[in-house]
Symmetry: C2
Subunit: 576 residues, 2 copies
């Protein structure tokens, strides 16, 4: 039973609580958040640190007349709880809400956001629109120190300084990105913290912005006073607010990196056999054997099994560039050109941030960098972190060779080859699970598709994670006495014309199965190959649409991804 | 006849010239550059301003042991002339060289570069590779002030500061981007220039970098002294060098924006009827009629006919965000969400920089911003500025509606509708030439393809710029008594299933023609629609490969884009 939290259905209810009682409310919210986070997981340390900041925001400002933009939304839970979504911290409805800001849930959320460093640009747009349309109200961006290293944030800051009207940038500095911060800028933030904002060297004023400093960013009275001082200001301003990441949890405060995110209670303990863990082990061996091998990551090492212990062992042969994906790809290109052997590890959804860097900085230069993409698969999580869309993007970059191994054995073999080859960039989509199987990839002929079993009439091409599905479909077809050919493409961004040509002999149907979007996908290249022939083709994969927390079963139904359904549809085509 | 220039076949020859004679060489190079630029066009003001800087670079450093990375290469001509490519300024061979840095031409060029803001990240890679492989030598990045506003440059700067070894950043500040600089950072650069680098507010030191200042960046003795002072330094350093954009040309110094680039002598004067000019006129009318309409551009207004006079008329309803494409897209999303009506103008090749911003900031939020893409077509220029690849990228973003009008009449109609609609983002590929024709687009049913003429057997779907080609093919086919259907898709990123279904009745072949890449293109969606049917499909467009200065005739041959060839190939399929 909470004294205050239960009474809050909107910011108006919050404003009725006496200021002196707000610390009690903060305590209630923090406890509720910890209960929720321990039960169902989520962004932990970042949300715990910002409880007071968001109470103060809603206490001082008037959302939605005043508009808040939360960068990456890793700190938006308290805001959500205060804006009619108390269900987020009530056990029956924990999972009814997105963990990110979501306009479809509330008018108090301006944007659906889950990638970092976008808040300042989005807020600039809101501010300019307000000025053009004669609107009123404050525009407030809340951005953490970790997000500041992303180029988009910098572009936003540079442009915010040119705005001649209200825009308030709350720089929530907990001295921590997801992992430790990286980059020269952070020395300045440390200097500003150490001098209580008085250092003459000041990144924000150098960017042309007015600057204020608040040391006690978890003190409600101080926050309220500070926010009142800047409310309705007529020009852009940065308020540097120091907060404690993980406040309220001793564990999260002691484990600032691990405490950024927690898994749900009872979740399987992190698998020793996870593909990212296996890759990390493999890469460490490569590092130890060859001083020119270097592993790069952009601010998310933990999620890729590059633990602090791993990083200590890799030493100078690991570089975390901070949240700066564009830099990571161009840096990879420079490393390859300079004679090193770079391997850049990235999650599929974040790899999207660097299409032009793939095109111009890396592939146009045929730099022999390796990119290891985790989670390039039809995702069941938030639309903001969905790996469905990355493989289509990989497929349209010239000069790049893309592989989607279906087993760890193939993945190791490809990675081993890719690191040492000097011909050009290689992208490897990491298998979703640590499936083991025979090695099909061969350095003799890297661009060949592999025939797993030769049948007739119908050929099933199961790409990457969907090789297993292809084999299940073959088993289904056997029940109807259809002896299907099964192919593991392995090499994935171009067709194996010789094999596809050969299939014309005694096959009438080719079926492609890919764990990604159909538009621009692997299957579309196969279809194009046969477009002027008699060969029929069926493509299975995801439609071009955002997938936001669609569960696995619903997804299989939506895209006809069950072996029985596919076998049935194949029979229908064959019988036509 | 030049006294010194003709003797230079490599940097070693340069080093033999007495330092006191270098100003004479600079004069010779500058005259030669002006002759070349006036004859065949190119980046004018930027190259003229950097003549001394690049002479000094090669005089002091030892390329290729010391490695230079020129940001965007707008200033690399003198470097090219000094490294065995004097032919660049000799009339017979003017066009034998790329206007950008190009490793295929010389070991002195590290990367093929034509997009801005990448040099620092690429140079970080070279430096780190040197350190890992036990190499020696300086790594020198040359970056102009205009390029500094791009997020990738900022990410590179932030990471450069973490390098504990040699890296020299020559910040070539001519107080000008392509157009005037935009953003708060530039106030600091002005302050630094005004105080000869002594202002306590200093962007570079705030980024954690050592800083030096050189006022006389066109004085060879001063430059040589400064570069000698930093040569072989053991940590990263920024040298802020003030140069005169367009030095040596009164015209370019007076017209700093127009003087950034010159067209070849005898080129057609800028067409009053160019699509960008017509769009600028159209948008100005919209701006004048509706105070919530706002036009955005990222640092290249001139190339999009947003002249200084136009900008003065648009007033606050035009925003140049500087070279900051990511910000531009997110800003567009914010503007739309805030109730304004944003239209972002961008060239196809630069639109590539913002895939994730299209995906996450704009489309996921269904923000009703309009993006007007110029030059989305198979390009005959440099690979770095080629619009071949953008339409495939447009096609894989969910929630976006993409249009490729084949006439200005359709384009106006679509733009007019798109600006006012509130449903979601719209991308319009601007026609390559100001073709006039009947308006086919209708607000009644925006996603319908349009039948231009109904025939039988074969249907020609000419997308955007290739609608004219479709009509030419139809004319060719008529000669053989084939009465082809011609379709203008207009709406371009999804198929018109009803129409495609209807074609099955009395058509055996559908031919798609698109002015872009086939992989992930419009045609691939049509092919996919018919993949399990008897309908045959032929797709015409560009293969997935880089196109670097391939002329129009060679391109048509390479991709079979002549009406006669296509008609012949159609007959072959029909006769099978």
């Amino acid at each position: 039973m909470s004294k205050y939290l239960d009474s809050i259905d909107s910011p108006a209810d919050l404003k009725r609580i006496p200021q002196s009682e707000l610390p009690e409310l903060a305590k209630e919210i923090r406890s509720a958040l910890i209960r929720r986070l321990e039960a169902v997981g989520g962004h932990f340390g970042s949300n715990l640190g910002a409880v007071e900041l968001e109470i103060a925001l809603h206490y001082v400002f008037d959302s939605p007349r005043d508009k808040f933009v939360f960068d990456v939304s890793h700190q938006s839970y308290t805001h959500k709880v205060l804006t009619g979504r108390r269900g987020m911290v009530e056990p029956e409805t924990y999972l009814d809400y997105s963990g990110f800001s979501a306009p479809e849930e509330s008018v108090h959320d301006q944007f659906k956001v889950g990638h970092t460093s976008t808040s300042l640009s989005l807020a600039c747009g809101l501010a300019k629109a307000r000025d053009l349309t004669g609107g009123k109200g404050n525009v407030v961006a809340v951005i953490g120190d970790g997000s500041m290293s992303g180029g988009e944030a910098f572009e936003g800051l540079n442009n915010a300084a040119m705005l001649d009207s209200n825009m308030i940038i709350l720089f929530n500095d907990n001295d921590m990105s997801i992992a430790p911060n990286q980059g020269g800028m952070y020395r300045n933030f440390a200097e500003l913290r150490a001098t209580k904002g008085t250092a003459s060297n000041n990144f924000f004023t150098a960017m042309g912005l007015e600057y204020r400093f608040l040391e006690s960013g978890n003190d409600l009275d101080a926050l309220i006073q500070e926010l009142r001082a800047v409310k309705d200001i007529d020009h852009p301003i940065v308020v540097h607010i120091c907060t404690q990441k993980g406040l309220g949890s001793d564990w999260a405060q002691e484990h600032r990196e691990e405490g950024h995110w927690v898994d749900p209670k009872g979740a399987e303990p992190s698998d020793e056999e996870s593909p990212t863990k296996l890759n990390a082990d493999f890469l460490l061996k490569k590092i130890q054997a060859d001083p020119s091998v270097v592993v790069i990551n952009a601010g998310t090492p933990g999620g890729l099994s590059l633990t602090p212990a791993w990083r200590a062992k890799a030493g100078k042969q690991f570089v975390d560039v901070g949240i700066a994906e564009e830099h990571a790809v161009a840096f990879t290109s420079g490393l390859a050109r300079g004679g090193a052997k770079p391997v850049y590890l990235v999650s599929g959804s974040f790899a999207q941030r660097t299409y032009d860097q793939l095109m111009q900085d890396l592939a146009l230069n045929r730099s022999a960098g390796v990119i290891l993409v985790r989670g390039a698969s039809i995702g069941t999580g938030d639309a903001t972190h969905n790996g469905t869309y990355i493989s289509s993007l990989e497929n349209i970059v010239p000069n790049v060779r893309v592989f989607s191994p279906s087993s760890m054995e193939d993945e190791y073999a490809i990675l081993d080859w890719a690191i040492d080859q000097q011909e050009g960039p290689v992208i490897i989509n990491v298998p979703e699970s640590a499936t083991h199987g025979p090695q099909r990839f061969s350095t003799e002929d890297v661009e060949r598709n592999r025939v797993v079993r030769m049948g007739r009439d119908v050929a099933l091409m199961g790409y990457g994670n969907f090789q297993a599905l292809a084999q299940e479909v073959a088993t289904e077809l056997e029940k109807c006495d259809i002896d299907a050919t099964v192919i593991d493409p392995v090499f994935a961004n171009d067709i194996d014309a010789e094999l596809l040509q050969a299939l014309k002999g005694d096959h009438r149907l080719v079926v492609t199965l890919e764990d990604g979007m159909l538009a621009g996908g692997f299957g579309s290249a196969v279809t194009a190959f046969y477009s002027a022939d008699d060969m029929r083709v069926l493509n299975y994969g995801a439609r071009r649409e955002y997938l936001d927390r669609v569960d696995g079963e619903a997804m299989r139904k939506r895209y006809h991804l069950n072996p029985e359904t596919i076998a049935q549809e194949i029979r229908e085509v064959l019988e036509r």
